[in-house]
């Protein structure tokens, strides 16, 4: 994660029309990997992640003017990426269907993209994550993989810190019980 000074320097570049493109490149070099994995964990498929990554880049570039430095840059781009990924999932649903109902489809995608010599426990863990409601899964990922604070996740998702803590607790319980059930088979 970057320091506040890096963020300020980046922000200045992004708001200066003569340096905007270079600032954007620097921003993507700095956060691109984390952003890709964040998106990939939501949409699961690589091709989907690539599409969402492209849409996120365009959205970030077009919205730079609206970023006023209220919070860390990373939280801002994570919020954009999360929204784009959710929109991508919504486009895969039918009318009146919730994105939570995509868990089977995402699970199949996970299996299809996983190399045959992949780690079985990792796979089961990912399958367990896909049984969580989407918003809970996203919050869990940010806490577990990105090690973001509840406050930061709250900034990204708009959910209260207490809700996130409760959700994380329920998510860990559910994953544990899934692992217990499927690892012993």
């Amino acid at each position: 994660m970057t320091t506040k000074t890096d963020d300020i320097a980046l922000q200045q570049m992004l708001h200066d029309p003569t340096q905007r493109d270079e600032g954007f490149r620097k921003l993507m070099r700095q956060y691109g990997h984390a952003l890709y994995w964040h998106i990939r964990r939501i949409v699961v498929g690589h091709d989907d992640a690539e599409d969402v990554m492209q849409e996120t880049c365009v959205r970030i570039l077009n919205s730079i003017g609206s970023y006023k430095g209220e919070g860390p840059l990373m939280m801002w781009i994570y919020r954009i990426a999360t929204n784009e990924a959710l929109q991508h999932l919504r486009r895969q649903t039918h009318l009146f269907q919730s994105i939570d109902s995509l868990s089977d489809a995402l699970s199949s995608k996970l299996q299809a993209e996983n190399p045959l010599d992949g780690n079985e426990v990792e796979m089961i863990f990912q399958q367990a994550l896909l049984t969580l409601p989407t918003q809970q899964r996203i919050a869990f990922n940010m806490r577990y993989y990105d090690e973001l604070s509840y406050e930061d996740i709250s900034r990204i998702t708009g959910k209260s810190v207490n809700t996130l803590k409760t959700n994380y607790h329920y998510a860990t319980q559910r994953i544990k019980s899934y692992l217990k059930e499927h690892s012993s088979r």
Binding site: M28, R29, G32, H33, C57, E122, F125, T172
Partner: protein, 109 residues
């Protein structure tokens, strides 16, 4: 609490994309976004113009078709000669019978 109970699994993902691959992907998407942004004002401008022109064309054709459709196929006769006055006194059945009349049967005026 963070990750409690999952330490033995770790944080690896069952995906195989390498860092080098991701560097390439990020560069592609970054440059793609920059190209799209720099091309978009002109492109959007032309798309708007083309859409507006297409909309006007469709509306024009629609209005023309509507006008054409609403025009009555009957022609209003605006003559008031003695023949017309005679024809006006006839019922539809009588008019239908006219071709069967002999010429002498038609009164002279």
């Amino acid at each position: 609490m963070n990750g409690q109970g999952f330490q033995d699994i770790g944080k690896r993902l069952p995906y195989s994309e390498s860092d080098e691959y991701l560097d390439g992907l990020i560069e592609r998407t970054t440059e793609g976004a920059l190209r799209q942004r720099s091309a978009s004002p002109v492109k959007r401008h032309w798309v708007l113009i083309a859409s507006a022109a297409a909309a006007l064309l469709v509306i024009g054709i629609g209005v023309k078709l509507l006008n054409h459709g609403s025009q009555s196929p009957t022609v209003t006769m605006q003559s008031s000669g003695p023949i017309d006055e005679f024809l006006n006194t006839l019922t539809d059945e009588e008019v239908a019978m006219l071709p069967y009349y002999e010429i002498e049967e038609i009164p002279e005026y």
